[in-house]
């Protein structure tokens, strides 16, 4: 339910970047969305489209790269993708593994039409 605000923050970044490229148009903004970022991709797309519609930002596409949750084992150092809420290390069985990736909510790139 906060995806509209997140979409607005993405568009703020797009406008800031657009100012650095006068006379050109930004066609795509690419973001990385972690599995446990707490942001729903569909709701974000919907909010994004609503905010872009009928503005000077059109046409602007949103490219979402979904980033899976990765855990690191405190015993053997193994890094693995966590599935089915099972934090156990598949290599050594250790339970106390740590989340090292998956909470991303980052702008990765923009495509600028010169």
């Amino acid at each position: 339910m906060h995806e509209l605000g997140i979409a607005a923050s993405i568009l703020d970044c797009v406008r800031t970047e657009a100012e650095r490229h006068p006379g050109s148009h930004i066609g795509t903004v690419g973001i990385r969305l972690g599995e446990i970022s707490g942001v729903d991709a569909d709701a974000l797309r919907f909010g994004f489209e609503c905010l872009v519609k009928d503005t000077d930002l059109e046409p602007l596409a949103l490219d979402i790269e979904a980033v899976p949750r990765v855990q690191r084992c405190s015993q053997c150092g193994n890094e693995f993708r966590m599935t089915e809420y099972d934090p156990r290390c598949p290599a050594c069985g250790e339970f106390m593994t740590q989340c090292v990736s998956g909470d991303q909510l980052d702008i990765a790139y923009m495509e600028v039409d010169e």
């Binding site: 970047e17 707490g38 809420y85 702008i107």
Partner: protein, 226 residues
């Protein structure tokens, strides 16, 4: 078409403000905790019991809600500085709201700042408020699978308070399963069972807070020790 690498956080502006807050808290040796839960899990009652018992700790409370001053009125009775943040519909607190409400408080005189977030398990987890840690509440009148349904906040919280444990005889809630689910999402999470009604577990919560406050001692007291 020219691809420009940007590499910044979507909530960059919030992040910068949160880092400023964190620096201010560090300068003043102030410990800040961000309490997050679904509506009705018992955040405000827990705070009432906490304030009642923490008589010697200089603390302040910011409490967030969509509307009403009700929580601030409830909490102000204990004589500590309390401010209500009315978000007017926004489902979470952000760093800007916190900064604005700290303006007329002297942080140097405080050891503890408690932020009671808007009742919501989803959105508050995305916004850094500059806090030292997030604490999540899960009550026995909710489902044991909440940690699995809302993993983001349980993954980010250092401590889970399992609240309303006095109701366990009356509700079909399996506390072992709830704890197991929380640990599946976050193996390192600390868990305290608590009842604000009977007082069970309150001592553990208060000593957890005191330990964390002491680990962030005032710069002046560090100088004094030297």
């Amino acid at each position: 078409m020219n691809r420009v690498e940007v590499e910044k956080k979507v909530l960059n502006e919030n992040q910068l403000l949160a880092e400023q807050l964190r620096r201010r808290y560090r300068e003043h040796g102030l410990f800040c905790v961000n309490l997050i839960s679904a509506p009705g899990s018992g955040k405000t009652l827990l705070l009432e019991r906490t304030l009642e018992r923490m008589r010697d700790t200089p603390l302040a409370v910011l409490t967030g809600d969509l509307q009403t001053e009700n929580d601030a009125i409830r909490l102000a009775r204990f004589g500590y500085p309390v401010k209500q943040i009315i978000t007017g519909g926004t489902c979470h607190l952000d760093a800007k709201m916190i900064g604005k409400h700290l303006d007329d408080w002297d942080l140097a005189k405080l050891d503890l700042l408690i932020v009671e977030n808007v009742g919501n398990l989803v959105c508050p987890s995305s916004y850094d408020l500059g806090e030292d840690c997030k604490v999540v509440l899960l009550s026995t009148t909710e489902g044991e699978d909440k940690p699995l349904k809302y993993p983001s906040i349980f993954a980010k919280a250092e401590l889970m308070l399992l609240t309303k444990i006095d109701l366990l005889p009356y509700v079909p809630f399996n506390p072992d399963l709830a704890r197991e689910n929380a640990r599946r999402v976050h193996p390192q999470i600390e868990i305290i069972d608590i009842s604000s009604t009977t007082g069970a577990g309150l001592d553990l919560w208060l000593s957890w807070l005191q330990r964390r406050i002491q680990s962030k001692s005032k710069p002046s007291s560090i100088q004094a020790k030297e």
